[in-house]
Amino acid sequence: MTEYAYRRRDFLKGAGAAAVSTLPLSMVELAFADPRENFTFAYISDSHIQHIKDAKFVHNWDRGLIRAVAETNLLTPKPDFVVFGGDLAQLGTKAELDHGAEMLSKLRYKTYCVMGEHDYYLDLGEYWSKLFGPQHYSFDHKGVHFVVLNSVLTYDEWTYNRWPSAEQRMLEMAGLDNPNGSPFMVGEKQREWLRKDLEPVDKTTPLVIFSHSPIQKIYKGWNFWTEDAEEVQTLLKPFPRTNVIYGHVHQIQYNQVDNIAFHSVMATAWPWPYPQSYAQAAQHLPKLTVLMNRADPFFERDATGWQFIAVGTGRVAMEYNLYNNTNRRVALNPATGLPEDTAFQDPARQIPPQIHY
């Protein structure tokens, strides 16, 4: 048994058999050489709280977030903190953000928030910032440097000059497949901030970047894409142990580009098709990714979930807590140096629901 597998067993023991077997866990573990340094955090994302009118909100999406919050509160051992990965709201209104913030307030942990495009494009994040604070920032925790980016910015012309109203701008960006949308980016100003933020950080420090969009280019048509991904990746190059965790895609994705391990998180609201399910466009889903099971819409929460993350080797170990499916675990395989699914990476072990077409 590899040292890695041994640590995994230790972790499960610590987590308690009940929690592991009954909760759809999607926790992130960062693992270090010294197991005492290991810690975990939980990641909830893409709740898309959607206002109907008056006090009515879309019930389905409400339930997804309520369940994730309740289950996160039941975790044993307790995560050190929780991250909410963006798209708390559907159309960025005060009603939606307030309703979502109220649900998030039930979390019994320090919570960090990431900006999503559905939170941003009504008032360019003004009300979100009132509730949750700055749109990009960094913090250190037990030897890891964490950076939160607002990666859903776009060209100024699109943001400021193209649309007759803020409401229309929001609607145009909210449609995932809307050809009037615009590619996401971190932008020059924020990249300069990131460069300065990373300057004093020791290069052996594990980095964990939280962004809403993937800081890689997968499929532009649905903005599974960040326009200045390469420029951001270049800033992260000096750090051999860099991890990027992103939302937006509502599906399991993972990848490794040079020094950077990429992990996506699930939505609590609804799953999205993999880009290859759209027959009319080329796409670049990472070949490493073993796809999540195809969704069964008759189970309202199927193919949604949240994650439990451990940070021990300086690489993210991602436990996908899936509501109507067997949980998935994607972690560094020391033999290959790549993030891999601990059960399904071998093609011979993959199952029919993982085939998307």
């Binding site: 109907i52 609804w270 759209y278 027959a279 819409p297």
Partner: protein
């Protein structure tokens, strides 16, 4: 096309045939015919796309495109097929109605409702080029 319009079109065609002194030949059509038919189809596809992205199709503001961007993951080429959740073979239109009633909290459409035809036309259009695979899972 409405019945009235169809009658008018047929009458016009008959007039053209008589005036032109040609017998209408059922098995012959022109490039212009093909272009017109394509245009008619694309008009309905466009209507389907509008319905697909409309928050007003159901009652809760949820649109089809929220879960199915570009109508992906609808697999029109696989219908009719055994739908395990229903325990029987079902058609795409039945599944469209299921979505209208559940995630969209709306009312089902008659299977020949022009809106249903438009939605089906759009879904099929986004899947063009994919081989038929009835019954596939």
């Amino acid at each position: 096309m409405s019945k009235k319009l169809l009658v008018a079109t047929c009458a016009a065609a008959a007039v053209v045939a008589v005036v032109g002194g040609l017998g209408a030949r059922a098995d012959e059509f022109t490039k212009q015919d093909l272009e017109r038919w394509e245009k008619e189809y694309m008009t309905v596809v466009q209507k389907g796309r509008e319905l697909w992205t409309s928050p007003k199709l159901g009652t809760n503001g949820v649109a089809c495109a929220q879960c199915h961007p570009n109508a992906a993951n609808t697999h029109p080429e696989t219908y009719p097929k055994f739908q395990k959740q229903l325990g029987r073979v079902a058609t795409l239109r039945e599944m469209i109605n299921w979505c209208l009633q559940q995630p969209l909290q709306g009312k089902p459409l008659a299977l020949d409702d022009p809106q249903m035809v438009a939605i089906e036309a759009y879904v099929a259009y986004e899947r063009r080029g994919v081989p038929m695979a009835p019954g596939k899972h």
